[in-house]
Structures are given as structure tokens and as C-alpha cells.
């Protein structure tokens, strides 16, 4: 067991590799909870519910015409895409998360004293496939 640095992470949206334009990504795997507390309990009781997952990714703007983040992501607003994230990079047996998600927002930020940046928020449709890379 060892700590793993984030620099080797690979991110693909469909067949487009956005790895080199991305410096942060976050997959939140959450679930609904249902309060089932009845009389006689001294604390709330819960049952688990449906999974409800979110994904965000962001990075440095790049004006590469056909393969940069703006060119790839802007047309996907409100649409569904397949996303693949490989936290430890590419390699047989290494972890991989594959899921389908709807791009709910795409933001480009231009601070005067730093690089232009982009960020995106995704609502995951269905479950996340955690099967390691073949």
C-alpha cells in the first residue's frame, strides 16, 4: 500500500482525452437516506436509498481548436457523455471509474492575474462502474 499522487490521473470524455487540460477532478458517490424513526427510539433511524452521484472536473483553458476543453465540452451542455477516470494512470489492474453523466454546467473563468480556467459539473446517470482496467 502506498500513497498515490494525482498527477498521473487520466480523464476522458467519450473518446476525447482531456487529461492534459485538467488539474482537478472529484467524484462524489452519495446516496439518499430515508428517515424511518419510529416511537421508542432515542436517535434517528435511517434506511439507505438510491445512489445519487456527482462529478466535477476543472483545469487550465487551452485554445487547441478541436481537442481543447471548450471545443469538447461546450457542445455537451445538457447532453449525456461517457466519462472515464483512471486515478493511477493507465495500466492493467489499475483502478478505473466509468460512468455516464449529463453536463449540467461548463464555466470559463478569466482572472486578470492568472490563467484562464474552465470547470464543469456533471450529474451521473446510473451507477459508477469501478471495474479495474483490463
Amino acid at each position: 500500500m502506498a500513497h498515490v499522487h494525482g498527477k498521473n490521473t487520466v480523464i476522458k470524455v467519450g473518446t476525447d482525452d482531456l487529461t492534459q487540460y485538467t488539474d482537478a477532478s472529484e467524484l462524489t458517490e452519495a446516496a439518499d437516506t430515508h428517515d424511518t424513526t419510529t416511537y421508542g427510539n432515542d436517535a434517528h433511524r435511517y434506511d439507505g436509498g438510491l445512489l445519487d452521484n456527482k462529478f466535477t472536473m476543472s483545469g487550465v483553458y487551452d485554445n487547441t481548436a478541436a481537442t481543447g476543453p471548450a471545443a469538447v465540452l461546450k457542445p455537451l451542455k445538457g447532453k449525456t457523455a461517457s466519462i472515464t477516470r483512471q486515478l493511477e494512470g493507465t495500466g492493467t489492474g489499475k483502478p478505473q471509474e466509468v460512468f455516464t453523466a449529463i453536463l449540467s454546467s461548463f464555466v470559463q473563468t478569466a482572472p486578470t492575474a492568472d490563467m484562464v480556467r474552465w470547470s464543469s459539473e456533471w450529474t451521473i446517470d446510473g451507477e459508477v462502474d469501478d471495474t479495474p482496467q483490463a
Binding site: 498527477k7 487520466v10 487529461t19 492534459q20 485538467t22 488539474d23 487550465v60
Partner: protein, 136 residues
């Protein structure tokens, strides 16, 4: 980014300023007005997969002996925000894009007295913020 190519390209751009001597690396002696492109601080991994790196490059400009009354006056056009001798304007001019890196910004200027060959010179150190490819 390649260190050699980055420092050379910065120096080449500064050489377009009239009557300014420019060195693309550390030197033993200077002859003011003289700009010296110094070795950078390199920050790796701005993005995943070796997508981008960041260089912070100091460029030291000496305009004359610190005892010279004209030194401050001579410094002014080089540290101005614009003008034909403005480092800010000349280095950030994107009419001709840089080849060795993506972007350059003159971020700050600090003033100091630096000695070369036991002579104290009034200097301005320009801090350049440069980003470029991490894999090329």
C-alpha cells in the same frame, strides 16, 4: 518546456529594445543598461499527465551605478507599463507568438542594489510568469 529555449527566446525578445544589452544567462560582468535573464524556478504538473509546467523567470536589469543620479531616471522607461522600452509591453506582445512556451506575463518588479565585480548597480528584477507544455 526546454530551459535553454525559454531563456533564449526571452533574451531574443528583449534584444529588440534599442540600446539595451541582453544576456540569456548569468554573467560575470555587465555593461549597463544590461538585462540578464536568470535561471527560473520550475513548477511541474500544473495539469494531469504532464500537460503543463510553470516557470518563474527573474530578469535582472542594471541601469547604472547606484551612486549615479541618472540611474533612477534611466530605469523608468524599462519598468513602465507601456512604451518602446517597456519590458512589460515588449515581453507580453503577442503579435509574434512564443515558440518555447504558451504564455508569458510580467508579474512583478522588485528594485535592489546588486554588486557585479565589486560595483554596486541599481537594478530592477522582473518576475516573469511563464506556462508551457510539460511534455515538450
Amino acid at each position: 518546456m526546454n530551459l535553454d529555449a525559454v531563456m533564449t527566446e526571452i533574451a531574443d525578445r528583449l534584444k529588440t529594445i534599442a540600446d539595451l544589452r541582453v544576456s540569456d544567462g548569468p554573467v560575470d560582468a555587465i555593461n549597463p543598461p544590461h538585462a540578464v535573464v536568470s535561471l527560473p524556478q520550475i513548477t511541474f504538473d500544473m495539469t494531469y499527465g504532464r500537460g503543463a509546467d510553470r516557470y518563474t523567470v527573474p530578469v535582472v536589469l542594471a541601469v547604472g551605478k547606484v551612486s549615479s543620479r541618472a540611474a533612477r531616471t534611466n530605469l523608468a522607461p524599462f519598468v513602465a507599463g507601456d512604451g518602446p522600452q517597456s519590458f512589460k509591453q515588449i515581453l507580453e506582445d503577442e503579435t509574434t507568438p512564443y515558440v518555447a512556451f504558451y504564455t508569458l506575463r510580467v508579474e512583478t518588479i522588485e528594485f535592489d542594489v546588486i554588486a557585479w565585480n565589486s560595483i554596486d548597480y541599481l537594478t530592477a528584477t522582473f518576475i516573469l510568469d511563464i506556462t508551457g507544455s510539460g511534455s515538450a
